[in-house]
């Protein structure tokens, strides 16, 4: 341990100076480090060594390259930081950042009071030092709010478009090692809000932002922060973009059926479509309404296919509740009329009964997934009963008794019995 934290911090910051395009950071255990170095020396020629130009030159000039190879690894714009140096590196980064922040604030106050008595360059120096150290700190401690805040302060004073874009780059980098970082996602929203009014290719930015979430979601399952960010983007989208996102996210959703976040995202996109269609007069035509109804029907069919293919997936059933609730509230009366009797038959409900029946049929199967499927189907039946207009509720109650759902729930999922009792009475 011949290197001090300050040395390590300098090395890290030099690597960033020499390779500003680094787009992925990770903490690497020392044992993996040797492997990384070996692999990269085998796979690369002499001009493309594992350690970047900057590290090499600092290393050789100080004559301890062996040690440094074990601290950082940088290749193809990827940066690995050894877990063995995290503590001294963090302490040094925090100290450097806090010192710079104090100076920056003191300077800011003085210049406010006395005017620009320091040469402009020293203010710039202080700013760039602050930006450098805050970046280092955030790569080690992703939710260090004060470091994010000082960057917002500097960037909002400068109001340069390129600086805003740099912030998007840094937060993406932080997200690459900490996909759930609340502050990094916040920071992105702050940047997007700040530039939304005067950004010429804002639509493109939204598209890229949405793609980033998808990329992150691939590695980080059911990431609430990431998907929340994607939902937030919808408020900036027009109908065309919403429809496009709906199309694009379908195949992803089908491959990640347990990820409720993506299904929620789709529900927001669908609602956005409905909302937009309500507003404009050209959409009032019955043809448009038929289109909407068809889109909803397609989504129901798609969901049904998935429910049958992936047995016992809660998220798919909950999504169906959302879809059918909307259907019941908006489209059911079209086909049914107002007089309900015990022989009443609505094509939508008939289809749902069929689906539920087929899922209940497998309840004797010993596999847990099939038992879950039966309980989800029973709960869905209860959901329909609660959602439909009152006269129909009786029809469904009778149907549920015939299916003997109460016994099913009592036997296989007793915790739900009181819920069922409440809604059946």
């Amino acid at each position: 341990m011949s290197q001090t934290g300050a040395d390590l911090l300098k090395q890290l910051e030099d690597i960033f100076e020499s390779d500003p395009l680094i787009d992925e950071v990770g903490f690497v255990h020392p044992s993996q480090f040797d492997l990384l170095n070996e692999e990269s020396s085998i796979s690369s020629n002499s001009s493309d060594k594992a350690i970047s130009q900057a590290t090499k030159s600092t290393a050789s000039s100080e004559g301890c390259s062996e040690q440094k190879n074990k601290s950082f690894w940088n290749k193809d714009h990827k940066l690995g930081i050894s877990t063995s140096i995290l503590l001294p590196l963090y302490k040094a980064a925090k100290l450097a950042f806090m010192t710079a922040l104090k100076q920056y604030k003191t300077y800011g106050n003085q210049s406010d009071e006395i005017g620009n008595w320091l040469p402009a360059s020293s203010s710039c120096d202080l700013q760039s030092i602050l930006m450098r150290h805050s970046r280092s700190l955030l790569l080690l401690s992703c939710d260090f709010m004060t470091a994010w805040n000082c960057r917002k302060l500097v960037v909002s004073k400068k109001q340069q478009h390129s600086m805003f874009l740099d912030e998007l780059h840094l937060s993406a980098l932080v997200i690459s090692y900490s996909p759930k970082s609340e502050q990094a996602w916040n920071h992105r929203r702050w940047v997007i809000k700040s530039i939304s009014a005067h950004c010429s290719d804002f639509k493109d930015l939204l598209r890229k932002e949405s793609e980033l979430v998808e990329k992150v979601a691939e590695r980080s399952k059911m990431n609430y922060r990431a998907w929340n960010h994607r939902c937030w983007l919808i408020s900036y989208m027009d109908q065309e973009q919403a429809v496009c996102e709906l199309k694009k996210s379908r195949s992803w959703a089908a491959l990640h059926v347990a990820d409720n976040c993506c299904l929620h995202y789709r529900s927001r996109l669908l609602l956005k479509m409905m909302e937009e269609s309500g507003g404009s007069e050209k959409n009032e035509s019955s043809g448009y309404k038929a289109d909407i109804k068809q889109a909803w029907k397609d989504e129901l069919d798609w969901n049904e296919t998935l429910i049958k293919r992936y047995v016992g997936r809660e998220a798919l059933w909950l999504y169906r509740r959302f879809l059918s609730m909307y259907w019941i509230n908006n489209f059911l009366s079209d086909s049914g009329g107002t007089s309900y009797n015990s022989n009443y038959c609505d094509p939508f409900l008939e289809n749902e009964f069929c689906l539920i029946d087929s899922c209940l049929a497998v309840q004797d199967n010993e596999f847990a997934d099939f038992q879950s499927q039966a309980v989800y189907a029973a709960s869905y039946m209860l959901w329909l009963k609660v959602q439909v207009p009152e006269p129909l509720g009786n029809v469904l109650r009778a149907k549920m008794r015939a299916m003997d759902l109460k016994t099913l729930v009592d036997n296989s999922y007793q915790e739900r019995s009181s819920l069922f009792n409440h809604f059946m009475s």
Partner: protein, 312 residues
Amino acid sequence: MGELATDKHVKYILSVEKRKDDFESVVMEHLRMNGAYWGLTALDLMGKLDAVDVDEVVSWVMSCQHDSGGFGGNVGHDPHILYTLSAVQVLALFDKMDLIDSDKVTNIVGLQNEDGSFSGDMWGEVDTRFSYIAICCLSILHRLDRISVEKAVKYIISCKNMDGGFGCTPGGESHSGQIFCCVGALALTGSLDLVDKDLLGWWLCERQVKSGGLNGRPEKLPDVCYSWWVLSSLIMIDRVHWISKEKLTKFILDCQDKEKGGISDRPDDAVDVFHTYFGVAGLSLLEYPGLKPIDPAYALPVDVVNRIFFKK
């Protein structure tokens, strides 16, 4: 399953504060104020708050306050509403409310936006968590009249989803943590009649999985911290009889490290203060013997809440 290893947990909480030599603990220093609230409230629920040096803690808390009135997560850190509530709660635990300059802390009313929502700090991020925090904080300080409660409630209701749950902002996915905040805020403002209790209770009770633990969202693994958020919400809307309390108690007790103390998110995982607090708080709501009762909306021991409102 066994019993709650109270003494071990007390020891564990006290030891965490002294650990400063590994990356995992120093890297959390920016939210030390939250950590203090979790640890100290857990100690109080177990009747062991006297194990800490009051003056030391209180003077540290006060050193985190800024001129604006807000508190930072630690000394030298920017103020944020997240830490301000924790600071106020910690001072309430120690009956040191007189140290708070209420008018100054009440500056957080300035964080209310035109639509009734609350920002967390001057940088403007909006979240229903911040609505809860502002309302809880102002209520403890007897200053709820300083904000537009009507607008605040309206905003929270605008975050309600078709499944009965709530998200961070309008259109955000339902999440047990956000639901606790929204239901808590509505409870504190006497607006629970605006909640569809059957619908929300349904969603919440479906968070209980076979092991007895509760998850935060569909398809997620059960987790002790969600046991608190779901359970307290169910209690506030009077639907707690829709889950099995016995199974939940067993799940939390199974998450204890019975040798070294502390509670983890799931059985056999590593313990931390966060889950230790939520585990103890959950058991308190479940009326586990030997624990002080906790208030589901203020997330403070009931005797502390009574002191705040009946001492004046």
